[in-house]
Amino acid sequence: MNMSDFSLIIPEIFMLVMACIVLMIDAFLREDQRDVSYLLSLAALIGTAILTWMNPSDGRVVGFNGTFVTDTMADVLKFTIYLLTAAIFVYSRQYLRARALFKGEFYVLGLFAVLGMMILVSAHSMLTVYLGLELMSLSLYAMVAFNRNSALSSEAAMKYFVLGGFASGVLLYGMSIVYGVSGTLDLERLAGYLSIQQSFNAPLLLGMVFIVVALAFKLGAVPFHMWVPDIYHGSPSAVTALIGTSAKLAVFGFFMRLLIEGMGAMQYSWQDILIILSVLSLAIGNIVAISQLNIKRMLAYSAISHAGFILLGLAAASPEGYSAAMFYTVTYAITGVAAFGIIILLSRKGFEADSIDDYKGLNVRNSWYAFMMLLVMFSMAGVPPMVGFYAKLLVLKAVIDQGMYWLAIVAVLLSVIGAFYYLRVIKVMYFDEAEDRSEIVANSGMHVVLSSNALLVLLLGLFPGTLISLCLAAIS
């Protein structure tokens, strides 16, 4: 380690300092001054975004004795995480206030979760991978339990905590075996060790399988998906948005660092596992989502099917496949934040708009927000010109380039099935009679951010070039 290493982690240091400042200042605020914490948290996210924007990584730089790395992939993922989390903070202000959850701790824990995600996507050693993951997960467990008066929320938090702890245990077990065999925690040296092996012995394979299981759990891929619907349903919508979008980006970074960069040499061993996970996720996610009447549960199963698509890109095991998976993750996260934004917007004091019936006649109640939801649902279903179409196209192209035709066909068939439940939401919004005609109130900040978020889904679909080339540059 030398002192110049500290200049690499300026965004992380800034985020940590800001989180501590919010924690301190919030303790001295009166109940009606809580907006100060909210504004400071937004400032923290935007400030970190500016810092990352101003100091883009020049190639790949490893620091702190091989525990930290920064490159274009880390920059892109981090930048998206900041902006999406800031958007979630803006959306959730009214929502939290109506539920008496508008507290400084929500923002402090949110910022710490973001710090954990930053550490995770910049990890270069199994040690930092694990610590980043735990920092993120611990903050999220507490946030899920944030609504203490709700039995549903407490149950979700308990399940998330126990299952998440179990997955961390499996991850550690796998890591310890791999460490025991290779003798290094550094991912680059691990890759070097693996690349000179003639064949992989049983302990290495077992360790790899344990690591893949933990990764699949965190991504919510079948058969490690059982937690996803309950946690999406039980958590406050603002927290669901964080788990469903920003955390997904971090988990993608987790996959890339540990499996692709660290254990890329074992490609022929993990490729088949990823293919099985991906086909199962696509099938279960899309088919079970059809029978869901709760929109948060529906989005949970849709997240499982999208996890299948991300795994499909990774299973292609080519640079194109990885960048397609990255493009998919980034665009899915942007779309997902907009979808949760609408759910949060329609909820009000004592009422969660989480049943699909609550969206009946949304067009009559507020045609602009109905249009926003239409864009989001079309994008998730993969209808051109929305960005979801390009994301699916790139992944399928990468899979076909590897000669896995049957896999592409299965994926297309299953996403056609999936289109049904997205289109049902649109049908309900535009063609059903509204039962609930109460007015939809959005403050101006939320209106602007939500509108630009949903329009971004359309805009990225019309001009996907920049983001695609960014994702390609990130992987090479």
Partner: protein, 210 residues
């Protein structure tokens, strides 16, 4: 067989006995005590590896703090574990199968030769004044400074999460504010009222009788 090997076998047997006891005994307090035994024996094993600092920390933190806290909780809550465990026997076949598979996997890993004694040389013998703690400290603050700081942040998050999830203001609860208690003066609490020894009523009575 060297003396060290004998010591290793002794502590290893104790670890296995303690760990088995944790899940076999019926009384939760006894289970916690068995865990303490397992920790002590593991500390002994670490001592053999010349990791004195870790061994002492294991005893101080896990036995001294964590397990004592755990024992308090177990003793204070009157939970009849054997009642909640009723019907667990029906899971025995599944549990047995999973355990067997896991055992086979561990056998595969440990028995593969990668973790044999030939792979791991016994630690270099150091003079008595060699400080393990010094070495660890200088490593933690140089090579591992980044992970070390993250670990500190995780502890901070644990504090914030625990407080935000458990602290609640109940309107009916009474609390003390020591600051204002100290600042209080005698005049705030006690009011001395000057008045005649005889009240007006007494005076009236006197007048009547006169």
């Amino acid at each position: 067989m060297t003396f060290q090997y004998g010591v290793f076998l002794f502590f290893a047997a104790l670890v296995v006995y303690g760990a088995a006891g944790v899940i076999v005994v019926r009384n939760p307090v006894h289970a916690a005590l068995h865990l303490v035994l397992a920790f002590f024996a593991s500390a002994g094993l670490w001592m053999l590896l010349e990791a004195e600092f870790l061994a002492i920390i294991l005893v101080l933190v896990y036995v001294g703090a964590v397990m004592v806290l755990f024992l308090f909780v177990v003793m204070m809550l009157d939970i009849n574990i054997s009642e909640t465990r009723e019907g667990f026997v029906s899971y025995l076949p599944v549990g047995f199968l999973v355990g067997l598979v896991l055992l086979l996997q561990i056998r595969m890993v440990v028995g593969s030769g990668f973790f044999d004694l030939e792979q791991y040389l016994s630690p270099v013998l150091r003079p008595a004044d060699y400080s393990n703690t010094d070495e660890l400290g200088s490593l933690l603050y140089t090579v591992y400074v980044y992970p070390f700081e993250i670990a500190a942040v995780i502890l901070l998050v644990a504090i914030v999460a625990a407080i935000s999830l458990t602290m609640r203001h109940r309107p009916e609860s009474r609390k003390q504010t020591p600051g204002s208690q100290v600042k209080v003066k005698a005049t705030d609490r006690l009011k001395v009222v000057k008045m005649d020894a005889l009240t007006s009523v007494d005076k009236k009575k006197k007048g009547d009788s006169a």
